[in-house]
Point group: C2
Chain length 203, copies 2
DNA sequence: TAACAATGTTGTCAATGGAAACATCCTGCA
DNA sequence: TGCAGGATGTTTCCATTGACAACATTGTTA
């Protein structure tokens, strides 16, 4: 080997796809989707600007892969929260809701990317599957509530829609993790309560 | 005037700002935010590529103006829906909810732009004001419900949060205006009912 | 009528995504 | 064990973009 050799890395990166996804997530959260560029990611990872094209068909494909990874991690977080021991159904539902909010607040830009990717016509099948898996946790928990007599009979997917949509919307409506200065985490129990009991006065 | 003159438009457009905003909204809904470019908009409107800079500080400023316009139109739609005569509070609330969903479904890309613009650090004051005005319609209606004894006492902003968030989330969760094949319009009455009555069985 | 402001145009630059052609390394098979 | 092919890099090029500077035209006001 030449003593003058200046290469700091072998020709083959070895794990470029994963490295690019990691760099993309860091850049996404730091600078937002608009400022995310393949060339900048390549520089950060230390490869030439067209290497990403060997692992992703185009820029959109990289973003789709990142969104899919996000859904997989959300699914894991929700599944863990739903499995946590809690005798009270209301507490279990609140735990699931908190896990959802925490994920969204911890990965704000990724969360937006996930939703955008999910909605785009032509979104890859794997991405939609990962999204469906993540969003299946709430109906599953509703089913256990129905079995315990805590929830009215009916389609769990439809019944969990109100809570799922409310949590989703809560994140969208909030700014910097707060709604009118109140941290979202503090609002979750009230939302769960409203969804379970409604807003109408009980007579 | 030379018979050979080829200009099809006087030097001053006369209403370029508005024309650019209109072209931008059309392009946004047709091609998405990613494919929206100032040069393309300029070509469509028939001016040179840097004319927009005379009306908008930069590309982001044009997008912010578009989002603000969106909030103003949403506000008008919600205010009109809330004013519609309906003796039953539940019907009035459902009308407001429907108006919100209709706006989001009619302007899907603009709706996303509005949310993104609202969240961005450094968002213009006028934009945030327009957003606040639009989202004040729901608490106002909740207040009338409280006056009629239809809603539990409490902060109307907090109480309307569940419904507002649920509607917001409903749009985000849906794809192509549907949730599991069901049009959103058909889901709204159920969502309103769940929010008013809750999911818990009444005993 | 002239000065100034508003609103256009032209030209330039740096950065980007994507494509083509080429280079290097790794794996599998004869 | 060597070679072919595949995987994964690099280099070069092109078209397009956003933004900036300088200039041109028109409208308004004093």
């Amino acid at each position: 080997m030449s003593m003058l050799q200046t290469n700091s890395r072998p020709y083959h990166h070895g794990n470029l796809r994963q490295a690019l996804l990691q760099a993309a997530e860091t850049a996404l959260e730091a600078r937002g989707a608009t400022m995310l560029s393949l060339r900048e990611l390549s520089r950060e990872v230390g490869v030439s600007h067209t290497s990403p094209r060997r692992h992703f068909a185009d820029k959109q494909a990289l973003l789709d892969a990142l969104a899919q990874s996000g859904f997989q991690r959300l699914d894991a977080a929700l599944a863990a929260a739903a499995k946590a021991r809690a005798r009270n159904f209301s507490v279990r539902l609140t735990n699931l809701a908190q896990a959802y909010i925490e994920f969204a607040l911890k990965h704000p830009a990724l969360w937006v990317l996930m939703l955008e990717a999910k909605h785009r016509p032509g979104a890859p099948r794997e991405l939609l599957d990962a999204s469906d898996a993540a969003f299946s946790n709430a109906p599953a928990l509703i089913r256990t509530g129905q079995a315990e007599g805590e929830i009215v009979p009916g389609d769990p997917a439809r019944l969990s829609l109100t809570l799922g949509a409310a949590l989703q919307g809560l994140v969208s409506i909030s700014t910097e993790g707060k709604f009118k200065g109140v941290p979202l985490e503090a609002l979750v129990p009230g939302i769960v309560k409203h969804v379970l009991l409604g807003l109408r006065p009980r007579s």
